[in-house]
Amino acid sequence: MHFKGKAWKFGNNIDTDVIIPARYLTTSDPAVLARHCMEDANPLFVSRVTPGDIIVAGENFGCGSSREHAPIAIKAAGISCVIAKSFARIFYRNAFNMGLPIFEAADLWSQISDGQELVIDGQSGLVTAGEIKIRTSPIPVFMQELIAAGGLMNYMVKRKAAINDPQK
């Protein structure tokens, strides 16, 4: 799978209150959440983001609360994947659990500009930005299994079924 789109650059410690402010957490409707995604960090984001675009962030992306509304809002806004120097741990597991592709890359942020066209090979994790090619950190095997199963719920249901009926 390939991801292709223009880069939206954000800095370090982008917290979930900025990704989707708590004042909108009285709903979990993805379409409503998408309309307010990132609005406290960049009010133009929602009106200018196009399907396939990619968030490129600094360290500790998604820190703060455990709200899964954050990756839901990002995905529903049309973002195809997030590449950060590092992710806060709850956001990291939420993304894999609910199916928002994320990649870790320490060197990409400083080498690309806001709005630049990026292509990512989802399999190898290779990012191409014009002449620049940067490899993201390999996705751990367990996370790959979660992706292959179609998210955590499918994985757990299959696992439960396998335990209850080992012949299958």
Binding site: G64, H69, S86, R89, R93, L152, M156
Partner: protein, 419 residues
Amino acid sequence: MAMTITEKILSSHAGCEKVHPGMLIMARVDIALGNDVTAPLAIEEFRKAGGKQVFDRRKVVLTPDHFTPNKDINSASLCKIMRDFAREQEITHYFEIGEVGIEHALLPEQGIVLPGDLVIGADSHTCTYGALGAFATGVGSTDLAAAMLTGEAWFRVPETMKVILRGKPGKWVSGKDVILYLIGLIGVDGALYRALEFSGEGVAALTMTDRLTIANMAIEAGAKNGIFIPDEITRAYVAGRAKREYSCLDSDPDAEYSQVVEINLSSLEPQVAFPHLPSNVRDISRVGEVKIDQVVIGSCTNGRIEDLRMAAAILKGRRTAPFVRLIIIPATQEIYRMAMHEGLFDIFLAAKAAISTPTCGPCLGGHMGVLAEGERAVATTNRNFVGRMGHVKSEVYLSNPAIAAASAVLGRIASPDEL
């Protein structure tokens, strides 16, 4: 082989003799918690996956505490989803308005979480229960849904950072100052993916309330969990609350730590975290002139009875400065009742404070004290991110209850020594 307390709890719940950092495990959970923001999503996922019955109705805890008593029709609808689910599934620990409190104050108080437990909660401050010697960590709604279905959750075994506390905290210094100082020292991702284990002779000088506050904000340093080794203070706290067996564990003397940090409690001043990161801390003596519009004393971080007593000691016989709003939120009904019987409410009312029923409310900019553009608040809460308590151009300064109370009286961030 030697293990830390975190590794011991994870290994026993994963059914393996030994775990090591980096290992991925599937572990059984003792408690799975959700609130009115996160549980409705989890319930939807649970049903989508074909869920008919939760794995154990005594081990799922549901607390409508964030936007309650319901602030609008949408939040009322979220609570209704949770309430209907609790009724249908006969959830033992569902707390209706009138008995609910802020989840991370309520669960320890009610003896629902105990030493040696493995707890997940769809709320980032679930790490609070590490104060009791439990492994407790925040997860998202899908994790909660999976745990409600199967009783299990996946974990990457974390490395442990050891924080050695020495000495005794001085006047006006509490658990809040210890954790703010640590976050200032290591940064908001200083303990990313790791366990924070608090040890050293200084721990004995910390009350259970101090420890709950410290473990509560472990997430603010990026940590997976914060944990204290159970001692006499833990046993005294748990006695009379526990209604089932529990295990007080200790780290092995030769357990491995990825990093060791030392803090001398005796030399700590009260800390204030400036906008917009909890790591942006200053000693109270270096705050300067910061005028404020609002003070909030409450939350899962500092809404316990000792916090309210500390505030009352300062507010007694004093009044909040003109044009400053003081909002005090006891974290549970039990704390509310104690504060009322001890006469704290008389002090608060005389000081011009608004006293609220338990709710997370203003901490996350939900209700009961949302800030307008350009306004500043001192809060005993846990986050001061951009827009956290309201308008994107409002500001939150984090402090302990003594600093918050003194600031309310003087209308600027201040130490009680200035009164």
